[in-house]
Structures are given as structure tokens and as C-alpha cells.
Symmetry: C2
Subunit: 149 residues, 2 copies
DNA sequence: CTGAAATATATGCATGTACACACACTAGGT
DNA sequence: ACCTAGTGTGTGTACATGCATATATTTCAG
């Protein structure tokens, strides 16, 4: 298949700037892992990547409860995309909008029993896919500087 | 802005699995850099991230020439998305579809003078944004294992 | 040489996302 | 109390993306 796939193309990424090389490694890893996750989580558990991420944050949280805004930040989506993501999850009974008080503008999103179960089923797939797709050369250095996330 | 942004939330990412922690670092870096690039490249040069990446690959290439398929792989987009991306760039006169021979199914995408100029203008912005957004803790380890890209 | 399978690209369609805006509510000054 | 500014979510709309498919071309078996 690959013609011109050999070792030639020596043009160093982005004029040879290290930041550009790093950026390309990030995009490559992200694209590969995201595609694999989307495929496997979708096929085996009927979940998208963002759906799973939200469930995971909720499952992790001591009170299984998050403000919509915090979820948006956690999964790196816009506020509007998060609102519709919550819609989809709620429509499937995996989370609930809890119009809790204290600030009656905001909502709390809580994970349901079904949601926790779905997450528990999908979590191993999630980890396995990541372990398989993320190159070991990436994992070590990333874990080394993991404090900030 | 960040309420609950402190050090509390000690639930280790994804049940404490290192791959999940690494994945979250990747998604965080990717989202931050992508958003910043989209904003700056769009505002200052009228280019999206994918548009710029395509121009950069073409500018780097010794013959300024790529098969559509190779571009798709390089920028991690689907074949159809790449086709339309080429449409947009061609509509603005930054690239040209070269129905070159040898395999009359395929096309070569070539960068125009205007395209090279636009890339030259935008490249510094690209590098600056990345340098500013990508955390130094990430850059060093990533550069260390940079051979494969 | 003929026809079937494979390959490269374009396109119809459904969906997810961001932006702009609307609405509900809170907070602070007067 | 009232009125204005600020904050948290939901919604209309435009657009980019992926999947399935259509079309053109090459390749290969017979």
C-alpha cells in the first residue's frame, strides 16, 4: 500500500520545533485512543467516549453528584454540548437531573443505579483499550509527571 | 473561577489505573491546545486547526504534493472529512487538486503560492500557542521519546 | 480480453459540537 | 423593596465530522 512510506521524508515536524513534535505525538495518541475507545465502548456497551467519561466522573465522586458546569470542565466540552450530553444519558436512565436547591439556577447531575452498573461493565473495556493503544513510551513519562491533572 | 479546584478530590483517576491517568493528561493537553489553536489561528489567520495542519504537511513535503489519502492519515481525519477539508482549502485558493496521472482514481493535493504564504504567516502563531499552552512537564518527556511519530 | 474484486475519491445523510442568545435565578447597590 | 449586573442552563442554528454508499479506475484471475 504505502508508496513513499519509507524512511525518506526527513522533514522534521513543524520546521523541527520540539513543541510541534510534541503536539503531533499528542494528536496521534489522542486520535488513536479516541477512535479505539469510541468503537469498543460503542460496540460493547452502547456508550460514546464522552458519555463514559461523565459516568466515570460521577461514579468516582464520593457523593455521585456533580454540577453540570463541573462536568463540562472535567470532560472538556462546552456548556451546551454538556447539557445535551446529560440529556442523552438521562434519556437512557443512566443519570438524573437533580434540581437541587441552594442555587436554583443550577442543577446537580446524579448517577443512577443503572448508570453505575453500566460504568462498572464498561470500565474494564476502557482500561484495556487504553492499555493496548497507548504506547508504553508515552505511559512511563506521563505517569512520571502525573501530579497535575 | 474554579470552585472545588483545590487539592481535595482524591479519587484516583479511573480507579487509580495509570493508563487512565495518562489518558486524562492526554485529553486535557489536547483539549487545551486544540481550543487555543482554533481560536488564535482562526482569529489571526482565518484557519482552522486541521486546515493549518494540512498546509503544514504540504509545506514540509519536498515536492509540496500529497495524496489525499496520506493527508487523511497525517491529520487523523476520515477520508470524507479530508475530502471536504481539501474543498475548503481549494475554494480559498490555498491548495489545488491535481488530477495527476499514474493512477487516475487518485488525486494529488498541491499547495499554492498563497497557501505557502498563509502557512508561513500562521506557523509562528502555531508554535507560540503550543509553547504557551503545553506544560513543560509534558514537553520534556515527550521529546525524550520522540523518534516515532 | 472479459468480468469480479479491490482501491481512491466524492457525496447523501445523521449526529455531535460550538456559538449566540434566551431564560431563570442570585447578588448588591440605592 | 426595586432595579441592574452577573451567573447557570437550556435551545436555535450553522457547521464539521463519520458512516454508508456511489462512481471511477486499477488489478488480477480465467
Amino acid at each position: 500500500m504505502g508508496v513513499t512510506q519509507g524512511v525518506e521524508q526527513q522533514a522534521p515536524a513543524g520546521d523541527g520545533h520540539p513543541v510541534v513534535t510534541a503536539w503531533r505525538m499528542i494528536t496521534a495518541s489522542h486520535a488513536a485512543a479516541f477512535a479505539a475507545l469510541e468503537h469498543e465502548l460503542g460496540d460493547r456497551h452502547g456508550l460514546g467516549v464522552s458519555e463514559f467519561e461523565v459516568l466515570e466522573r460521577l461514579a468516582e465522586h464520593p457523593a455521585h453528584k456533580y454540577r453540570a458546569q463541573e462536568l463540562a470542565a472535567a470532560v472538556h466540552l462546552s456548556q451546551s454540548a454538556t447539557s445535551r450530553l446529560i440529556d442523552r444519558l438521562a434519556r437512557h436512565g443512566l443519570v438524573e437531573r437533580c434540581l437541587c436547591d441552594m442555587d436554583r439556577r443550577g442543577i446537580y447531575v446524579t448517577i443512577t443505579e443503572a448508570g453505575q452498573q453500566r460504568h462498572a461493565e464498561a470500565a474494564p473495556t476502557h482500561r484495556d483499550v487504553l492499555a493496548q493503544v497507548l504506547p508504553a513510551e508515552l505511559l512511563e513519562p506521563l505517569c512520571a509527571c502525573s501530579p497535575a491533572v
